[in-house]
């Protein structure tokens, strides 16, 4: 009996002693942290995609609290709603950012180009980019080896098996920019989602002269400048034989799409041509 009592006594004493030591140690080495950091981290989506430009959600929260400012901060996953909530909590004003989405600015692929060679090397865009122009001959075209697919943390981009071009899943894409960073040819761009998800953009990044690019690809921008003339809002600029539509100025009138001789300008999510015909009529 005495053995049991003795054991319990020793354990209780040890525990008390340890508790006292731990209490003082905890006091001594206490890390003083703004509790808002934890709250903010919980409010952020927790995807840790890096789309905000910081290493992860917590890193962004720390920066917001440290700088006590929301300037230039945006969370592509949570969107404006999360940023507004954060702004309320921090007593700051959120800068509103239009929701964006990744667009693929190449339409060459397997269908619109004639492959002249067959690439058999490593299935890695970065390496292929070092060693060849492309199977079709265009030095700016999509290589179709799927690095963007591999880096996407949201499973939102896939290589189409028929065209060998990446396709963005609009439901899933949050415009974190991981694919933009990975693509060695800078084909993927983050553009504003646009009204009713409608977008007009030049699906080509080739800066070669029209004569040269036309030889390699049926749908390249040839730098003819017709779209520049057709645009009533001066949203299109032509540099290095390549047209670019500024999404902030574009009013989605689609005049450029009509005049483009090669079909390099794409319209997305517009209702099918039926409605367009009735408007014209």
């Amino acid at each position: 009996m005495s053995t049991i009592i003795f054991s319990i006594l020793v354990l209780v004493l040890t525990a008390t002693l340890a508790a006292i030591i731990l209490y003082f140690v905890a006091q001594k080495f206490k890390v003083i942290e703004d509790p808002r950091i934890d709250t903010l981290t919980d409010m952020l989506p927790g995807a840790n995609c890096g789309g905000c430009g910081y290493a992860g959600c917590r890193s962004m929260a720390e920066t917001i609290v440290r700088n006590n400012s929301l300037e230039g901060m945006k969370c592509p996953v949570g969107g404006n709603k999360v940023m507004e909530d954060i702004a309320v909590l921090m007593g700051l004003e959120a800068s509103e950012a239009a929701p964006q989405i990744a667009v693929i600015r190449c339409n060459g692929g397997k269908i619109n180009t004639t492959p002249k060679i067959k690439y058999e090397g490593v299935q890695d865009c970065l390496y292929a980019h070092l060693n060849m122009a492309s199977e079709g001959g265009c030095p700016n075209s999509c290589l179709g080896l799927g690095n963007c697919e591999a880096v996407c943390p949201f499973d939102a981009i896939h290589i189409d098996p028929i065209t060998l071009l990446p396709v963005v899943d609009e439901e899933k894409c949050v415009a974190c920019g991981a694919c933009v960073k990975e693509c060695p040819r800078k084909i993927i761009e983050l553009r504003n989602k646009g009204i009713k998800n409608r977008r007009v953009f030049v699906s080509c990044v080739n800066t070669e002269k029209g004569v040269v690019s036309k030889k390699n690809c049926n749908v390249s921008c040839i730098g003819c400048g017709l779209c520049v003339k057709a645009c009533p809002f001066e949203a299109i600029t032509l540099t290095n034989n390549l047209a670019y539509i500024d999404y902030n100025k574009c009013k989605l009138c689609r005049k450029c799409v009509e005049v483009c001789p090669t079909g390099a300008i794409h319209e997305i999510n517009f209702p099918p041509k039926k409605e367009k015909a009735s408007v014209e009529a």
């Binding site: 002249k116 060679i117 058999e120 090397g121 490593v122 890695d124 970065l126 390496y127 070092l130 060693n131 060849m132 122009a133 492309s134 001959g137 030095p139 070669e208 040269v212």
Partner: protein, 443 residues
């Protein structure tokens, strides 16, 4: 038999063109000459569209330190200055010359007489090498004159001449040594004078007995040139491996051969230097091997820079039906040509036509952890480890694993039983590390 310390392999030699003497390839109708054909800063164009140029006339001038001159290999009118595709398919600035005749610039000696006296002194020789646009013909196209400007605090002890020609299929250096050994030896003598060294070592692989014999016989007439037969083992002709085989010295990681008192040049460069210094002839032509198992006529050709590769292939029976790849350079280090209309450059050493069967890759399977790549790596690296890091995009880690020391010889890829893309990943890491380093220096 002398050889390098670790690693290496012995691929099938396939020196199919050993007995084909060098033939002069006729001038093309239109020559396409890239403005910059060397490693380093681009040269500045000094001619305009519509100008008439003579053979050997300067068309692009080196204005920065690591840079080389480019000369016109043809006589004719410049029809345009535009971008032309090189063999990778990318476009580079080039001069298009409509070839009329072959009128050489005044002062260039085109006679076959051998001039043995070296009249110029060291400084003048280096100046001449620079003026004539000589680049390293071993493959890297590094401007040669820079190698001869020994940095302060270093002294050159040996001039090492790479005549190993360890790549399978290639025979251009071998033919050069067999046919114009004396010119090469005078070239070596000039290089020795420029560098101020007493001794030159010429390393030749033992699978070229004719060249070894001929060079040894002739070298007796010169002082301080030693011909050293080397074991036939790939990559015997790699700079650092060759230095070790000949001098038992090891170049430290990330350093240049001058660190151990050596300057290495290719035998082709020696020949080019002979022509530049003794005959005033710029580097406008080189010997290349047209080879491949199913090629109808295999040749060693003296080709002017800027000849379209397609015309060379067409002149000798065209591409065989089972062609899988056409490679610029040897099978180990060469790169596949994606556009045959591309012209040759100063360093094109071979056009190798590989059949479908030869050129296809092994199917990629999982790493067996056999360690063969580590055993054969002549630089003592761990290719599989670096490749895994590269696949995970850990470029800084690959730098710590000395990926920059990789000489891209391809022995690991050749040996790997699992067909892992080792060399590809090493090349990719090297590229990314250089980018990282560039960023660091900018900061």
């Amino acid at each position: 038999m002398k050889t390098f310390r670790r690693g290496g392999a012995h691929p099938e030699e396939n020196k199919l063109t050993n007995d084909c003497s060098i033939e002069v390839f006729p001038l093309p109708k239109q020559g396409v000459v890239f403005v910059s054909q060397h490693l380093g800063a681009p040269a500045t164009l000094i001619v305009q569209k519509g100008d008439r140029v003579k053979t050997g006339q300067l068309i692009a001038k080196a204005e920065q330190f690591i840079c080389a001159n480019t000369h016109s290999p043809y006589t004719g009118i410049i029809s345009k200055i535009d971008f032309a595709t090189d063999f990778t398919g990318y476009k580079k600035q080039a001069v298009f010359i409509e070839v009329e005749e072959d009128e050489w610039m005044e002062g260039i000696d085109t006679s076959p007489d051998i001039i043995r006296d070296i009249k110029l002194d060291s400084k003048e020789i280096i100046e001449k090498i620079k003026e004539m646009g000589i680049v390293g013909l071993g493959g890297a196209a590094f401007p040669t004159h820079i190698k001869y400007m020994v940095p302060q605090g270093r002294t050159a002890e040996f001039l090492i001449i790479n005549a190993a020609e360890c790549e399978p299929y290639l025979t251009s250096d071998y033919r050069l040594m067999s046919e114009s050994a004396e010119e090469s030896l005078i070239g070596i003598q000039i290089m020795k004078k420029a560098l101020g060294v007493e001794k030159a070592l010429v390393g030749i692989e033992e699978n070229k007995p004719v060249a070894i014999h001929r060079m040894t016989e002739l070298a007796k007439n010169f002082t301080g040139i030693e011909i050293v037969p080397l074991k036939t083992k790939y990559p015997q002709g790699a700079e650092k491996q060759l230095i070790y085989a000949l001098t038992k010295r090891e170049v430290p990681s990330g350093k240049l051969p001058i660190e151990v008192g050596c300057v290495v040049n290719n035998i082709g460069t020696a020949e080019a230097i002979y022509h530049a210094v003794q005959k005033n002839k710029p580097l406008i032509e080189n010997v290349l091997t047209l080879t491949g198992k199913s090629v109808k006529e295999r040749k060693n050709l003296l080709v002017r820079v800027g000849t379209p590769m397609q015309s060379i292939i067409d002149a000798f029976g065209g591409l065989p039906e089972d062609t899988g790849k056409v490679v610029s350079g040897g099978p180990m280090m060469g790169k596949a040509i994606s556009d045959l209309s591309a012209p040759t450059v100063k360093t094109t050493s071979a056009i190798l036509v590989m059949s479908n069967k030869e050129s296809s890759r092994k199917e990629e399977t999982n790493c067996l952890r056999c360690g063969k790549c580590i055993t054969v790596c002549p630089m003592g690296l761990e290719p599989i480890l670096i490749a895994q890091l590269a696949e995970n995009r850990l470029w800084e880690e690959t730098e710590k694993e000395f990926a920059m020391d990789c000489i891209e010889c391809g022995t690991c890829l050749y040996t790997c039983p699992a067909g892992r893309p080792l060399l590809d990943m090493l090349r990719l890491s090297k590229n990314n590390i250089s980018e990282l380093r560039r960023k660091r220096t900018q900061k």
